[in-house]
Symmetry: D5
Subunit: 95 residues, 10 copies
């Protein structure tokens, strides 16, 4: 199943920049692992903001939830989830 | 350049269902033509709503505007546009 | 998969009350058929409003979309969809 | 009486993760006790967010309030309450 | 049970002022009947707007819903419902 | 003059629970004094939230302001004020 | 008592421009009469919008309501009302 | 030129009440100086909130900006600015 | 004085496309005349929407208002106005 | 490509005014360097607020993102990005 997830990261005011840099490093590793597995199908930066637009291809909503809460930056994100499906005008199966 | 476009279609109250069905048919043909050209890279239905999430790959904002206003349903849409770029954690060039 | 769907119905200003009553009758029949099939698991009225809160148990987002667009009142609804999953504190499997 | 309650939990920035884990443990015990009593009829996780959708079956609004304020995480939640009633198209008494 | 209900009336553009005046007359009669029954406990005009703030004292949410949908102006209202209960600092039982 | 005031209390993160409990005790005493004076006509708890709906009967807006800023929890509240007046359909003088 | 009132006028789509011009003429006469009486203390145009910011000095909220509903354009306005009072830093009595 | 400015003051959580009282004293002196100069034409308290509605009469937007940023409480305010002009129905020149 | 104006045009449902095309032609002529006069300093299309972002350089708010209400499409626009001034980091006088 | 960027700066509560003044000094130098390069085409202060409206002329969204995240105040900003293009009524090429 496909989900669009929009993540806005809020830099935590009480965290040192060293700790936050470390969080970002582990976040990047986790994000790349999930992309290689095929679960995190697309990952785009929103221009000019600390935000991304992502497409996940997962078995179900439970798997999406497990993935999201496994992200090191999850406690510092505002998250919007949108369930997607095949569009009748799409020329190839995207779902 | 990549743009995410979110389109919500509003069924016009004064248009007969025959006219609206015809609009949808020409919309579908135009959408497929744009997908075949590679400009309209992804097109997903938002589950349960008359809305879609789309990714466009265009030369610039002017081309995006020309494409959007060429859609037969454009006058009946609420449109949100988000400029995207390559994410540093993405494992392949998506921009 | 479970989805919460919140539907707000807007009485169409151009439709006669006879036509609208007929729409509601076919809507009710369709809603009951979907409940009997087990797809539409819960259906509650929001007190004081022409709105409902529903829980759907469907194969995937595509099936949810087909169900929603099959409802006679769908063109007159504002719809919010929320993907649900099993809660770790729930005492029984609800997903 | 039935109420839908939507709870969004905000991780408190000044609380240590040990204290917060303990809060979550007592929250889970309280939630399960309330489910076993039949007061907390349904509890679903919102996919990808630290939020839930719940259905409570209580004597009245006062009992709902007492339950909500008895939750250990209540001070860290944003709460939306919606009063529900039997829907005329529902095939069984859900209220 | 007590509910606060906020009603905003929208003058329907397609209804003649004669028809709308008649609607308001029947609305007033119904409102006064409900006040005399003790169900509609308080009714205040919001200064400068075609809106009211009301307190209803009803058996449950179902009775509130039946009352609201029995109002002649119900199809022309935006309605917000808030469930109330006894406040611990209140000096008399208001619930 | 009548005003509806909606107060949402935000638990201050930097205040110890002892200090906050003391604040609540003095708040309660002040609220009861104002109710006994007839200025604070109604006080209801919003079910499931740290919020209330209140009706004040005061000489003018200045008196309302003095009352509100005399509340010990005032610095921790979000406040909405709505000026009310007699409704033409009300069966008794409520203003 | 002082109230700030913000009025946004919506040109009604079904009204001919002749009828609407007549409405505006009677609105202007009524507005000037109320200004001369001292009830409508200030009247400013919001630059670039069909909106105004007004200050009314009335006996109470009931008088404000009577004034607002006596305006010919009232059915075509969105209205926001804010109750004002003397500011402790103001150098002269404005309330 | 006339501007309406709405200021909402947020009590800073990290500032001692002594420091904040001193801020308010200097704010009051500055506000009165600006009123005496004729730049700050009107200053009203919003009833029940730590907010004001003000009318400034300044040479241009730059002077408004300099005035606003000279206020000691400026860093603790949310500010809305609305450019005003003479209303065609106003009986005297207010711009 | 400089103002940013954001205009969103709403295609009127009751106007024939011939009438609307004529409106757009006169709108374009008026917009070009105002640009040539130096009053309408910048005019950009918002990509993918029937909206523009404009910068006006006018004597005062009254002149801005006269310009805006002289636009043939003004009755079909939602307008946001923002007063601008020289930024201390700007390398040339833009105000 | 042209982008409008609206930046609202939030004074960080935990940063000393000395550190923040230093941040602003480096921000100003960076802003002037980008203006001299022609990338930051326009920079206006929003009157009465710690906000600006800017126009950037960049190769693509990636360059915009690099510029924004290079600003010393970027972690303390709320940012809105709008993609612009040539308007058909503009009298000169602004894109």
């Amino acid at each position: 199943m496909l989900f669009m997830v929009q993540m806005d990261v809020h830099v935590p005011p009480h965290v040192s920049s060293e700790s936050f840099d470390q969080l970002k490093t582990t976040e990047k590793a986790r994000a790349q692992q999930l992309q290689q597995s095929g679960k995190w199908r697309h990952l785009w930066r929103v221009a000019g903001r600390y935000s991304n637009v992502s497409i996940f291809d997962v078995a179900d909503a439970a798997e999406l939830h497990d993935i999201m809460t496994s992200l090191p930056l999850f406690p510092h994100m505002t998250v919007e989830v949108t369930a997607l499906c095949q569009h009748p005008s799409a020329i190839e199966n995207q779902a």
